[in-house]
Point group: C2
Amino acid sequence: MSDRVVVALDVGGTGMKCALVRPDGVAVRTERHPTDAARGPAAVVDTILDVAQGLIAKARADGLTPVAIGIAVPGVVDEARGVAVWSANVGFRDVPLRDLAVTRLGLPTALGHDVRVGGLAEARLGAGRGADHVLFVAIGTGIAAAHVVDGVAGVGAHGAAGEIGHIMVRPDGPRCGCGRPGCLEAVASAAAIGRRYGELAGDGRGDAASSAQGPEQSPGAAVTAAVVAERAAAGEPLAVQVWQEAVDALADGLATGQALFDVSTIVLGGGLAQAGDGLLGPLRAALHERMTFHREPRLVAAALGDEAGCLGAALLALDAAGVRATDAARVPDHQEER
Amino acid sequence: MSDRVVVALDVGGTGMKCALVRPDGVAVRTERHPTDAARGPAAVVDTILDVAQGLIAKARADGLTPVAIGIAVPGVVDEARGVAVWSANVGFRDVPLRDLAVTRLGLPTALGHDVRVGGLAEARLGAGRGADHVLFVAIGTGIAAAHVVDGVAGVGAHGAAGEIGHIMVRPDGPRCGCGRPGCLEAVASAAAIGRRYGELAGDGRGDAASSAQGPEQSPGAAVTAAVVAERAAAGEPLAVQVWQEAVDALADGLATGQALFDVSTIVLGGGLAQAGDGLLGPLRAALHERMTFHREPRLVAAALGDEAGCLGAALLALDAAGVRATDAARVPDHQEER
């Protein structure tokens, strides 16, 4: 049975990361496909199932045995019922994706939330490896978290657990996209950092930043969080101020998470974590300051990059198929020896 | 084996609530003993073990078979190691209470955190019965929570999970006993409400309130939260303001809990919950206002009163003994028929 693989898909608003993954966590084939969400949810579901079917066929052609499918989507995901409850990016609303996949493809299928499966992968295979209690926090356009205990991510009663981006940290802060004031996401997401810098620069770049969809930089375009990080590192006073405001808010959010969850390791992922020590250094200091009687968690950068979601979908699929991920998956160095 | 019982002790700073509890959750004998923490931790441990030994002897004299012991203590409790890590009220610091009990009494023993076992009891037997995802929040002198999923309370990596009293809700708020500004506990605990009322009344009652240890009322003494609740209900403007401030802060705290945990039911316990609809009504409204894309949890008052901790300790003991609480425990009405 060493030829078993699972089919893993991480469906985002723009593209899908797809792979065939062995029980030891090694992807033997990877593919990327556009999501093209503008076509509407039915077309996106068709694409997901087509891509999965294609990967199943390719696996079989290579003499491999696909045993299960794992699909990760953003938004609110009811993992127990296998339903994509609400995914603004992808246009899903109450899509019974698991049952649709089982019906068409005939394999056990697991549906997961993109950040929760990303956290699962980081906790089991990545930066949280070896820790039983991990909080994975993804900071990008939005902010979301996954609380992983003993290799299982908490889902919640309605598939909406882990929304750390929508905890209130600044009562008089900017209004969040969700409608409430002062959410962590409205203060400290990559989008919020760029917007805040533009506002304080007083050149109208704030509006541009708030509608910016990509990381592109062109003359006159909004300043991204990455650029704010660079300028802060170079000592530009405005960037230093904006960066520190975001760090303080993030530290408040992480301290809240630690008060409630009491983890041993916090793993920071998402685009903003790519600022590396420019984020981790000051954030560790600010978090340390906020720990009183609590044990201070280890704060580390994610290790799996943007593959975490796809790997996490594979882990869900392995769980669904009753295949225990082999130890090799926990020791990537061993992959070289196989 | 219908004569099996467990020995349950809920150890507080002032007193211990103790009971012999059957697998169906019925206490067949209850006792209260003073903790007298001023004698030091060794003497308190001796008392705990003496009381447990006494209950074991009484059970046997009545023809019952004690099968396990459950002990709940406040503070930071490492349930996996059975160690009372830090309990300011009781004076414990790294006391291996479970092993001490096993050595002296020869029965399987479980150690739990008072609020977490209280949440366990409310989730399994009380106001959260029937819900798989419950957040129990105890509001008294302090504020703490227990997150109970499928009848198991989250403990955390170091036994410190659920510290909802120490999440920051008001960046410019009063300093908490833990040293940080704006903790929920510093704004919305019963102690904080009394203190705030005293401060705004401008008569120096604030200081008295902050050092008040009991619910006593005497002429000139601090106004308690219960009195503030009464005066707010009667329409006294200052009390209305102070109460609403607390309600708003509590709603922020509960909304944060809901964002992270996504429960179906929030159970409010502790002294402040005795304000009943005076608290639940406005708090439901304020929480409703804060729910945007999240599912709104049911918000209910605790059902077990100050017996929750002792019952929860019994549940831990039953779990430790491998005795499944019988269904009767979930249908208290059946007790009448036995």
